[in-house]
């Protein structure tokens, strides 16, 4: 078991290095000059000095090595376009807000999606089943900006239940403003969960051990609660990892619409200002989140289903 975990963890390191390399390559190719924001020209001497200060004059492999060292010590360097500010500051400010949004959306997804899938599976081909499937299709297809705007329009403008924008700063503070954005973000995972849970439960119902349990005479409720639910959780857990990754990285649109000062905004303005450090730091961090989420899910899966431990894949 320990060998399995170790193997999985070690495999992520080259993946992370590769991701950093690719992001590095992407950023280097964008061009543009972070030190020249206004039309006022920067004198060549100043430009050279600034480049030297930020290590931009060194050959690319040296820059890359320096950067990798920085990543592993959690030092992302100073912000290029905003002199005097460290990227770490930015990230420490904005990242927790996006994480909070993602977690709340995840809560919505589980709160509504999971029961919906279970109910649909317990009454297959009924009106309940069809409506759950119908709504989950819509959840997949409707673009998030439309959902968000309609939600704002109805709940904030028409019936004025919640304010239209704003976000409670501070990680543990919650108020009514978190409801709409997290619901809008959670809609797609909700649809995904409902479908997944329903499919997984239906499949589990076909299994032999369920038939054995019924033949033994166990009560239906006990069978469902104990055996079926637990075993259908496996694909759900597997999907939860990348989903969490999606929630944190895919919050761009919601943050944009609801004016939430998270990493989405930080990323877009970083790209527009050619602020290499910020963009790279955010991309690398987001990738790390996704990779770590996948890793955790893989290990969890190894616990739940011992057959996967042998191959280590």
């Amino acid at each position: 078991m320990a060998a399995f975990i170790l193997r999985r963890v070690i495999w992520t390191i080259p993946v992370i290095l590769l991701v950093i390399l690719m992001t590095f390559g992407l950023m280097k190719n964008i061009g543009g000059n972070p030190f020249r924001k206004t039309d006022r020209a920067v004198t060549p001497q100043t430009q050279a000095n600034l480049e030297r200060k930020f290590n931009l004059d060194k050959p690319w492999y040296q820059q890359y090595a320096l950067y990798v060292k920085g990543v592993f010590t959690f030092d992302f360097g100073p912000s290029l376009a905003q002199p005097g500010r460290d990227v770490n500051e930015y990230v420490k400010e904005q990242f927790p807000r996006s994480i909070k949004l993602g977690l709340l959306a995840f809560v919505w997804a589980i709160l509504l999606g999971f029961p919906a899938g279970v109910i649909a599976a317990l009454r297959p081909n009924s009106i309940v089943d069809y409506s759950v499937m119908f709504f989950s299709n819509i959840g997949f297809a409707v673009p998030s900006f439309l959902v968000a705007t309609l939600l704002i329009y109805y709940f904030a403008v028409k019936i004025d239940l919640v304010p239209t924008s704003g976000w409670p700063l501070g990680f543990w503070s919650l108020d009514s403003r978190v409801l709409l954005p997290s619901f809008a973000l959670g809609l797609l995972p909700m649809a995904y969960f409902a479908r997944l849970v329903r499919g997984s439960m239906l499949e589990t119902f076909q299994q032999d051990y369920v038939r054995t349990a019924r033949a033994k005479g166990l009560r239906y409720r006990r069978i469902v609660g104990l055996h079926v639910l637990r075993n259908s959780l496996i694909p759900v857990v597997t999907a939860a990892g990348p989903l969490l990754g999606f929630l944190i990285t895919g919050s761009f649109i919601i943050e944009y619409i609801f004016s939430i000062p998270g990493i989405g905004r930080g990323f877009v303005s970083g790209v527009q200002n050619r602020d290499y450090s910020v963009v790279m730091a955010l991309t690398v961090l987001l990738s790390l989140v996704v990779i770590v989420a996948n890793l955790v899910v893989d290990i969890l899966y190894g616990f739940l289903d011992p057959r996967t431990r042998e191959t280590g894949r």
Binding site: I30, I138, T149, L202, V271, T283
Partner: protein, 326 residues
Amino acid sequence: MVVDRRETALEIAGKTPFAPEIGEAAGAPVRQSSLWRDAFRRYTRNKAAVASGVIFIGMCLYCLLIPGFWKIPGIWTSIFDIDPNDADFGQTYLSPSLEHPFGTDGFGRDLFTRTALGGQISIAIGFAATFAILVIGVTYGSISGFVGGRLDNAMMRFLDALYGLPYLPFAILTIQIVSDQGAVDFKTMVIALAIASWFTTARIVRGQIMTLKQNDYVRAAKAVGARWYRVLSRHLLPNTLGILIIAVFLELPGVVLGEAILSFVGLGINPPDASWGSMAQEGREAYRLHPIEIVIPGVAIATLVICANFIADGLRDALDPRTRET
């Protein structure tokens, strides 16, 4: 179900000696059926897929015909004589009426024709990017699947690393690189979206090629002396055609949604150029008073995506009925 199997069996057998009352007299020529005709019959049995196909084709026709190719003067003229880019400030924010079936937007432009025009760009980007995704994905996947061994391992690990890159930031960065000066046009969007989305197709193609490689006809072809390019092009790739068609309708919604999101944030097609995403961006300004302006492109995108999903489901059932879920 029973009738279905008997019918198909009859067609294969070619004659009807045991049950002449079924249809043909004994000895009469029986229609041959091919894979595609069988698939078509299975497809048409799925009502949702058929309806989606009709709606999908209807939308494409709507986008093509309503504004016409008015940018190419002399070749096509508009069926309705309304110019979607004609701003008329005396008629802003109208509600739907007979003259303007979807109303007008903030510049007084008719939304009905403008949606069609935007659809041209959005659907064209969708198809072009999907085609590019297929090209890249098939190349990568078939090399990886066909060669196998260590190269396959390395290529798949590389793909795993690529999966770690978050989709939107990657697309945004690619757009910045591919465009010069940050001016985004059709070509830029297509390339950027394709580069950000080809991974899944590559995996699917690789899986399919690896499965097909085990077949006896491949072994026979190699035994007779066929070179690798002949085995690939003659035997393996044509058999992946089914999967590829399904992949088209699975990638298309993703690309269209991606384009819409990027344009909505302002990093894609920008107004006054029309695309469903840029129309949504314009509609966002006035959503409190005139929500239809953002609802229409959103609903258009949603319809396209839902139809593509159903078509993909129908195609999957039609082309590979063994994997149908109950």
